[in-house]
């Protein structure tokens, strides 16, 4: 067996592979135009251990469609560069609940991968949705004992179907990152 190739940082100059339209999962030509569901914006600000904006991150999302299925009618992939204030933003449909292991059900969530200068491996986290009844029984949220830390995985509504999940890479309020 040969071990998987080592990860290396994306560095600061990755924007040649930034296609800003990919941040809109509902764009013309996405294949998702006809999928019915609740349109949402997922946004947030990424900060470092000093609280400074991470302005050069490549953020990707991966999610199920409104019916809770992956790549079965809904292409659930997006990419957003963070702006000068460290903010990413996606236009998408709210995912449905997804089967978990065993007989578990996972609450609706969007998986987030962060690549950047200074990240030797990408970081993975999830955005759940505040107020979702299924959150109480979600098997991943259940692994986080501290309610304050668990809250770092839960996006908050800001009105107009905007959901906000700020991401702190290090220090006070540090986001829970997943070893996947």
């Amino acid at each position: 067996m040969t071990a998987a190739t080592a990860s290396q940082t994306a560095g600061p100059y990755w924007h040649m592979i930034d296609f800003p339209e990919w941040a809109d999962l509902l764009r013309a030509g996405s294949g998702n135009e006809a999928v019915q569901g609740e349109r949402i914006t997922l946004t947030g600000r990424i900060t470092d251990g000093d609280g400074a904006a991470v302005a050069d991150a490549l953020v990707e999302i991966w999610q199920a469609g409104p019916d809770g299925r992956f790549e079965d009618g809904f292409h659930g992939f997006g990419r957003s560069a963070t702006d000068a204030d460290g903010v990413f933003r996606f236009a998408t449909l709210k995912p449905g609940p997804v089967p978990g292991r065993g007989n578990a059900t996972q609450a609706p969530h969007i998986e987030i991968a962060i690549f950047a200068r200074g990240l030797m491996q990408h970081l993975v986290t999830r955005a759940y949705f505040e107020g979702e009844a299924l959150n109480a029984n979600d098997p991943v949220l259940a692994l986080v004992d501290d309610p304050a830390r668990r809250a770092t995985l839960v996006a908050k509504p800001e009105g107009n179907a905007v959901w906000r999940l700020d991401i702190r890479l290090q220090g006070e309020g540090e986001t829970v990152f997943l070893d996947v």
């Binding site: 067996m1 071990a3 080592a6 040649m16 200074g118």
Partner: protein
């Protein structure tokens, strides 16, 4: 519904740590809390399918509108397999790099080296049924960075791979054989296992080299494999 088969966990020595003190940008960006290990679910074992009709392939970085980029023309080719040696087909591979002078086609790159109007420095290719990929480019140049005094990155090409599971998603860098900067580079050196580091270095390959046209380099890539199922003998 049966549970998805999880991906194998990497041996930590074969991957660079998030906290790599010699690489200054990690200081304020690495999490200090332990990562939360989660059992793989469909979210990790499925991945986006990239239809080339919507994500068109572009395999030639060595020219723009028929005008040749400056520099030493190269062909980079290799195979993408998993840890069990199984070819990974239909993997979308994204590639980006600096030009022959060591300058990125990027507004924030202020290195005092010339831009090349005929070099944009990005490609997108898909692996075939045997996991093979190939693209044409020019050999990138080394460039300085401010990590420490007189720091220069070894010449490299960035690779991003999208496998069959989101847990396989990865970005890496391909280096070139014989580069004296490798032994001085905190990013390259961060991976503890020497064999794992050396697999990031491509190999000159005369079979990939095309006479009167371009030098060939081989770079094979391994994505995470699946754990054995109870029904499979490891």
């Amino acid at each position: 519904m049966s549970d998805p088969i999880p991906y194998r966990r990497p041996d930590p020595a074969t991957q660079p740590p998030l906290d790599a003190p010699a690489y200054g940008s990690t200081h304020r960006r690495h999490p200090k809390q332990a990562l939360l290990r989660i059992p793989h679910t469909l979210t990790e074992t499925t991945a986006p399918r990239f239809d080339p009709a919507r994500y068109p392939a572009h395999a030639d970085m060595s020219q723009v509108n028929g005008k040749a980029a400056l520099g030493e023309r190269i062909i980079v080719a290799g195979r993408v397999v998993d840890e069990d040696g199984r070819p990974q087909r239909g993997v979308m591979v994204e590639v980006w790099q600096a030009n022959a002078s060591g300058r990125y086609h990027h507004p924030r790159d202020q290195h005092d080296a010339p831009l090349d109007p005929n070099f944009e420095g990005r490609a997108r290719i898909f692996t075939d049924d045997e996991g093979r990929y190939s693209f044409t480019s020019v050999k990138p140049g080394a460039y300085p960075w401010r990590n420490h005094w007189n720091a220069w990155r070894p010449i490299h090409i960035h690779f991003g791979l999208h496998g069959a599971g989101f847990a396989q998603r990865m970005i890496t860098q391909m280096y070139f054989p014989g580069d004296p900067l490798l032994d001085l580079d905190p990013i390259f050196l961060a991976t503890p296992d020497k064999a794992a580091r050396e697999r990031l270095v491509s190999k000159f390959d005369l079979e990939i080299t095309r006479p009167e046209w371009a030098l060939g380099y081989r770079f094979d890539i391994v994505l995470r494999g699946r754990e054995a199922t109870p029904f499979e003998k490891a």
